[in-house]
């Protein structure tokens, strides 16, 4: 990991040099810490953070939360955006850029450097999208934890337990393995369930389909797994429905190769649904995306039919034909994959089955 951090930093400094940037101000918060993690390997869990990264010098980290300042060894300030703007104002002869546009606070972004935002954000996006082999390896390690976490989830999914109790068991497991972050939503019930959401108070019942996407982030990189389990014996309709998702996932994964576009992957998945007369259920009314990039952020570029982004080796993504099925409700099935020289490596090892747990 240390080597990876050093490689990332060298790449960033080189990109800053090519772009003519002397100082890069990077904003972060608990929702979007991915850019900061790339640059200086810092993840904030509370408040706003702004790092000032000098190409030929050090880095200053300004934090809104005193607890975070103590944990991360940064400087506490009541207003990181205003303080950062003041510091940048003192760098008279330096070429300054700000990123990323979608989380730069108003008080910093409205200043004299705002024109730099679009290109600096694009520069960082490129660095994060086209990964180093070591970054893809980090996603692979996270996928091992995702598989283990899913086993914990299956054990937790017992009749009478509330949705939030299932998440408690999984979170405790991830923490015991030193994993501080996880994105996780779920759904439980039958044909009335149209998607996944954060855990509520509903209790698991016999015959439920229980869906989840688990996305642990053990060392700064996320990997995701999506599976559906049934509490008790699956019905014939549930088995029949599952076979569509299985075929769609296999088709999607088979389409992942260098030179293919994200749209090709989505099309491969969706064609399976169309052939089975379920074409309506791959529209935005029933599903958001057919997968997405994954790495330092949980939700990278979308796998949708109109996305032209071309895949290259060591890109990582999740392929998931998750959607509503009119006979049984919302179903999910997805694996994280890594693009290789001639195809892809599937990183998740959990069997692609409609998993049954005791009723």
């Amino acid at each position: 990991m240390d080597d990876l951090k050093a490689q990332r930093h060298r790449r960033l400094i080189s990109a800053m040099g090519n772009a003519g940037i002397d100082v890069l101000a990077i904003a972060a918060n608990p929702w979007r810490s991915d850019y900061l993690r790339y640059a200086i390997d810092v993840t904030v869990v509370e408040g706003t953070a702004i790092a000032l990264v000098e190409r030929d010098g050090g880095t200053r980290l300004l934090l809104e939360s005193p607890a975070e300042a103590e944990r991360l060894g940064g400087e506490w300030t009541r207003s990181p955006p205003a303080h950062a703007a003041e510091i940048l104002g003192s760098f008279k002869a330096k070429r300054i850029a700000l990123a990323p546009r979608h989380c730069l606070p108003y008080a910093l972004a409205r200043g004299p450097h705002r024109e730099s935002m679009v290109t600096a954000t694009a520069m960082l996006d490129r660095l994060m999208l086209y990964k180093l082999p070591a970054e893809a390896e980090a996603v692979k390690s996270a996928a091992v934890l995702a598989d283990e976490g899913y086993r914990v989830f299956c054990d937790a999914a017992r009749v009478g337990r509330a949705e939030y109790e299932l998440v408690a068991d999984v979170e405790a497991f991830f923490r015991s393995r030193g994993c501080p972050e996880n994105f996780m939503i779920l759904g439980s019930g039958g044909v009335e369930v149209r998607g996944m959401h954060p855990p509520g108070e509903r209790r698991i019942a016999r015959g439920d389909l229980v869906t989840t996407e688990l996305t642990p982030c053990p060392d700064g990189y996320y990997a995701q797994i999506c599976r559906t389990l049934v509490v008790g014996e699956p019905t014939e309709a549930q088995r029949r429905a599952f076979s569509v998702y299985l075929e769609a996932l296999e088709a999607g994964v088979a389409a992942v190769r260098p030179g293919a576009a994200m749209g090709d992957v989505a099309r491969a998945e969706n064609e399976v649904f169309r052939r089975r007369g379920l074409g309506d259920y791959v529209s935005s009314e029933y599903t958001r995306v057919r997968g997405h990039g994954i790495g330092l952020y949980v939700d990278g570029p979308a796998v949708l039919e109109d996305v032209t982004l071309v895949l290259e080796p060591d890109m990582t993504l999740i392929v998931h034909p998750n959607t509503y099925h009119p006979e049984v409700g919302y179903m999910v099935l997805g694996d994280s994959v890594r693009v290789t020289a001639d195809g892809c490596e599937v990183l998740c090892r959990t069997p692609r089955e409609l998993i049954c747990v005791a009723a």
């Binding site: 929702w31 979007r32 607890a67 103590e70 730069l104 959401h197």
Partner: protein, 313 residues
């Protein structure tokens, strides 16, 4: 990202309580010559919106718009499929889908002819949201942080009950820590399990090793209300007892007080520093919810504590 319990109980927070909060904002708009108030929400800054509507995003971002009349509108970067869930967990009027939040917000402002728009925590508003409104359609963005903060505290009885429950969750989680943990991940694992099984919306645990002692700080959210609790292990009776007295009034510390902060919820951030050892940044009214955090240098090493309290008259 949020992955704990997100649910709305109308017994715990009745619609009338949320309506009353919105009415207070609406009554204040005229005095500031504001056409509307916008409050941004994400996992990072959810507090203003959850106070007004009980909406708590588990990821993604949204804006609540309060106009002089009517229920607040939610402009949300969630797919329309999530709207039923949003209605289940929150109290809002219109929900507008916003694939691009800034553009959708600008369209909302323009369509209603809003010229002067107050924004809670304007300095923190993401540029991707601020630019389309402020530059794109030329609406005047006004920092409404002071206005909001003046309305936000003291807490009402519903919020106080949620804070009591959050503190109870944190207490139970700390009580679950084994007497001789082998490593920090063991502490983190047991507190996660205990807090989330009790229904925590979120938990931020921090374990700090200080010589022979470990300080365990838990920030716990329960249905939108955040508290912090910190204990130092092994417990130091004299310091514990001093901290209890400090929460009730002034008492001389059994060592050197090296840090003291008071935090409260006054804007989008769940807890913001309103006072530290050097100065009072924002006086709190009686009945305000707050968290006191201290660090002492005892004769045999550092010691820390934190706990929620209500500001006395």
């Amino acid at each position: 990202m949020r992955r704990g319990l997100i649910a709305w109980s109308k017994e715990q927070v009745p619609t009338s309580a949320l309506d009353a909060r919105v009415r207070r904002v609406q009554q204040a708009l005229g005095a500031q010559r504001l056409d509307a108030l916008l409050a941004y929400t994400s996992v990072a800054r959810p507090a203003a919106v959850s106070w007004l509507t009980h909406f708590i995003p588990y990821w993604n971002e949204a804006l609540v718009a309060v106009l002089p009349e009517g229920p607040p509108s939610l402009i949300a970067s969630f797919s329309k499929r999530m709207h039923p869930w949003i209605r289940e967990v929150s109290h809002v009027g219109e929900i507008l889908p916003a694939p691009d939040l800034g553009r959708a917000a600008a369209a909302f402002v323009e369509k209603r002819g809003l010229k002067r728009v107050g924004v809670v925590d304007l300095e923190y508003l993401p540029w991707s949201v601020a630019e389309p409104i402020g530059i794109g359609i030329g609406a005047e963005l006004v920092d409404a942080s002071e206005l909001f903060a003046s309305l936000r505290q003291p807490a009402d009885r519903y919020e106080n009950a949620l804070a009591v429950r959050a503190a109870q969750i944190a207490e139970r989680a700390l009580a679950a820590i084994p007497s001789r943990p082998r490593h920090a991940s063991e502490i983190l694992s047991v507190v996660e399990l205990a807090a989330r099984r009790e229904g925590a919306e979120e938990i931020i645990p921090r374990v700090t090793q200080m010589g022979d002692r470990n300080a365990v700080e838990l920030s716990v959210a329960y249905k939108g209300v955040w508290i912090r609790l910190c204990r130092t292990y092994p417990l130091v009776a004299e310091a514990e007892s001093w901290f209890e007295s400090v929460l009730q009034g002034h008492a001389p510390p059994p060592g050197k007080l090296t840090r003291r902060t008071v935090e409260s919820c006054i804007g989008g951030s769940p807890l913001s520093v309103v006072e530290d050892s050097d100065r009072v940044y924002r006086p709190l009214p009686a009945g305000a919810q707050a968290v006191l955090s201290v660090r002492l240098e005892l004769g045999d090493g550092p010691w820390r504590a934190a706990a929620p309290f209500l500001v006395r008259a």
